[in-house]
């Protein structure tokens, strides 16, 4: 699971190539820092003479992450340092500024945040934000960090909703998200569709708070209702309060319990397992969502789910064998051609 910079070098992606030279000259700066091995948890001490340039800091930490077997060492170091300099990526920083010395305050921040990464905390939690489509969202442990596949789930929903909105006689569309986490899906939909209204649920209080915070930061809180409800146990309240939506969208926990052990340490140690573990066949929350869907959807309302690639045939069989009031429409693949998304529709 660990992606070392080795594979980055042999691959067409060349972010790291330009640093290879610097890494070679690294022992030049190593003279500037205390030898790391004796520091607790492998932390690097700040430079003795107190001065280090942006580039030097990036290389130094990249190399240190690599020694400590931290995944994506160069990217981690680049993203953290770019963030401290107020930018999203190193490329955004003016080329001439890369040779500038970090201020004392910046240097302390770099050392503080990079040390967090040494504990295998995901970069998104270290810098407390990440991008999802065209939005920048606040990230906070243990709320699940949205994955790039989910951006494609949003594209699917958007395409359909934009089509439906062409019918001007329709009343404003409504959408329900189960397990909103950071709020990524609902907020992206609201951001792209100014007429849409959304309801988001999560069983975790932290997720509910984070979704609310992200909504108000983006000025979307007037069209979003967030409820602290558990889809597994609060069936009555959900049906009573959230009903009649045109779209039900979810990225539910879909991992098979036995796969939980083999996850990256970053995930196991920092992310909420409840957002990942979908039971022995990864279907427990999915089944519950499908059972509730007919009671929540408008006529011809649709369900959009992100799932494990093994799930689509299982879900299809479920709709065929049991009369659950839903019709299986289609399976979509993600960018890597894995069957990742299912679309279902309420039967008339």
């Amino acid at each position: 699971m660990v992606e070392s910079d080795h594979c980055a070098k042999s691959s067409p992606f060349s972010t790291s190539q330009r640093f290879s030279m610097r890494l070679r000259c690294l022992f030049f700066f190593q003279a500037l820092v205390r030898v790391p091995c004796r520091a607790v948890g492998g932390a690097v001490g700040p430079p003795i003479d107190g001065s280090v340039t942006v580039e030097q800091a990036v290389s130094l930490w990249a190399q240190h992450f690599q020694q400590q077997d931290i995944s994506e060492p160069l990217l981690s170091s680049s993203y953290i340092i770019a963030h401290i300099l107020g930018q999203k990526t190193l490329e955004c920083i003016e080329r001439s500024r890369l040779g500038d010395r970090l201020t004392e305050q910046q240097r302390e921040m770099v050392w503080e945040l990079c040390s967090k990464r040494l504990t295998r905390m995901p970069v998104q939690y270290v810098i407390e934000e990440w991008d999802f489509r065209d939005l920048t969202l606040k990230m906070k442990p243990p709320v699940f960090i949205p994955r790039p596949e989910t951006e494609e789930l949003v594209s699917l929903v958007l395409e359909d909703l934009q089509e439906q909105q062409k019918d001007k006689t329709r009343p404003a569309l409504r959408c329900l998200e189960v397990g909103c986490g950071t709020g990524a899906i609902s907020l992206s939909l609201l951001h792209s569709l100014p007429q849409l209204k959304a309801i988001a649920l999560d069983k975790s209080q932290e997720a509910v708070c984070l979704t609310k915070e992200n909504a108000s930061r983006l000025g979307l809180d007037d069209r979003l209702n967030v409820h602290h409800l558990d889809v597994m146990t609060d069936e009555y309240l959900i049906v009573r309060d959230c009903g009649a939506v045109d779209v039900l969208v979810s990225n539910p926990p879909y991992l098979f319990t036995q796969d939980m052990e083999s996850l990256q340490e970053e995930i196991v140690r920092f992310e909420d397992h409840a957002a990942l573990d979908g039971g022995s066949d990864g279907m427990s929350v999915i089944c519950q969502i499908l059972a509730l869907a007919p009671k929540l959807l408008t006529e011809e309302g649709r369900v959009y789910l992100e799932v494990d690639p093994r799930h689509p045939p299982m879900i299809k069989r479920l709709t065929e064998q049991r009369m659950i009031g839903l019709q299986y429409l289609e399976t979509h693949c993600d960018l890597t051609n894995r069957t990742r998304f299912c679309v279902l529709q309420r039967r008339r």
Binding site: M1, E3, A8, P12, F13, S14, T15, R18, M21, R22, S71, E72, L75, S76, Y79, K88, T89, E91, C92, R95, S96, L98, G99, P122, V123, Q124, W130, D131, F132, R133, D134, F144, I145, R147, P148, E149, E151, E152, S155, N251, P253, Y254, L255, D259, L263, Q264, E266, I267, E271, A275, L276, E306, D308, P309, D334, L335, T336, R338, R340
Partner: protein, 430 residues
């Protein structure tokens, strides 16, 4: 006079599409692009200097003194009269189809013929006024003098309008573009120069109020750029930028040089037109999209920060990639944008070369110089080899403001003039 002509040409921005039928024949852009490609392939091969082209921008008077122009204008008038004649007399030997053709031709020729008639009238007026000037009446003399000046101004304006109407428009002139810069020979120094040129165009875009969105950016050590692309959008952006395509050469003592020797390095600029709506579709099956998430299980199983996307168009092997963004889907959109621009220009190039072969024209009559421009820091000058124009003050030029704009306007004028000559040549031999 040349400066005056320059200003007039700039004024005459709107050209009636009189000769739209012929426009397609003149597509210097694609020729330029093809040259750029060739340069990319031969990057290490050339270091020899092709002599600067002895080009001169002609004044309106000089253009109007050309026989070919008069021959063409006479031809247009004759054709117009013939069309008019056969339409008015209702010649029974001509069928409906031909009549319709003539009617269309008439409406196409009409604006130009009107200008020619106006010009003839004004010229007659001028002759009469000049005759008055020869008489010895003092009051009349003064009046005639003013009249003469007015006439001359109007004549100049009409002539300018005629010239503008004859210059063939380019299909892609109104489109936006993708700028691509690539470091050539010269290692780190070439990459530093590439970075400076990229910044120059970024400034040029803001100087004109165009949008400038960086799509790809591969930086090198010490702040240089290996390769970068940006999407530039705004009124006339393509028209103004298209002549920047080609090999740019820098001569200076690099910052990295310890013994004070002068180096010569190069970088290449490609300008890919990007119309607002690209008129061809790509079959998704023809694309291979590569991401860092291809290995392993993906989805909730993996948390990565590498959101780079690389797209390969399988039938052509054209590749684009983006890694600027933290969102994978935005990277994909950006890579797709570059890919579309690359495919579009490849298609344009293919079509143009077909057309050129069909017309048995010598390929490479346009954008012929290998290196288009030299930036010589020791002499503080910029020389464009295509038109032999030299400007001074490199720092100001690299700001991407007035000086670059001046160079761009001269190139535009020169190419307009060349297009006009080609046009006259083609149309007089018909």
């Amino acid at each position: 006079i040349a400066v005056f002509f320059l200003q007039l040409l700039r004024l005459a921005a709107v050209k009636p599409g009189v000769f739209s039928r012929r426009q397609t024949a003149h597509c210097s852009t694609a020729a330029l692009l093809r040259h750029t490609r060739r340069h990319l392939r031969l990057q290490r091969g050339f270091h020899t200097t092709t002599p600067a082209l002895a080009a001169r921008i002609l004044s309106v008077e000089e253009i109007f003194s050309m026989q070919s122009l008069h021959r063409y204008l006479r031809k247009v008038q004759t054709e117009y009269r013939d069309c008019l004649h056969s339409l008015n007399t209702g010649d029974s030997q001509i069928d409906e189809e031909e009549l319709r053709g003539k009617r269309e031709r008439l409406s196409v020729l009409d604006p130009l013929v009107q200008r020619i008639t106006e010009l003839e009238e004004k010229q007659k007026e001028l002759e009469e006024t000049e005759a008055l000037l020869k008489e010895n009446d003092a009051d009349l003399h003064e009046l005639a003098q003013t009249e003469k000046e007015n006439c001359l101004t109007t004549i100049q304006e009409i002539k300018q309008q005629i010239i503008s109407a004859l210059i063939p428009e380019e299909e892609s002139d109104m489109s936006d573009l993708v700028l691509e810069v690539t470091a050539g020979i010269g290692g780190q120094e070439a990459m530093l120069f590439t970075a400076e040129i990229f910044t120059m165009y970024q400034n040029f875009a803001s100087f004109h109020g165009w949008g400038f969105e960086i799509l790809e950016f591969m930086s090198s050590d010490i702040g240089g750029v290996r390769h970068a692309t940006a999407s530039i959008s705004g009124p006339l952006s393509y028209k103004k930028m298209k002549f920047e395509a080609g090999v740019h050469r820098v001569q200076r003592v690099p910052k990295t040089e310890k013994q004070g020797r002068m180096h010569t390095s190069t970088m290449t600029v490609a300008i890919l037109p990007q119309p607002a709506e690209i008129s061809f579709t790509i079959n998704p099956k023809d694309l291979r999209i590569e991401t860092k998430r291809a290995s392993g299980a993906g989805g909730q199983h993996v948390n990565t920060t590498n959101s780079a996307v690389r797209i390969v168009h399988l039938p052509t092997g054209i590749v684009s990639e983006s890694q600027q963004e933290r969102s994978q889907i935005i990277n994909k959109e950006k890579a797709m944008k570059v890919l579309l621009a690359k495919l579009y220009s490849a298609k344009l190039e293919e079509e143009t070369s077909k057309r050129l072969q069909a017309r048995k024209l010598q390929i490479g009559t346009k954008g012929r110089s290998e290196k288009i421009r030299t930036y010589n820091f020791c002499q503080d000058r910029i020389t464009d080899h295509r038109i032999g124009k030299t400007l001074h003050d490199l720092d100001a030029f690299l700001l991407g403001e007035d000086l670059l704009d001046e160079m761009s306007s001269s190139l535009q004028q020169f190419y307009d003039q060349e297009a006009l000559m080609d046009f006259l040549e083609d149309n007089n031999t018909d």
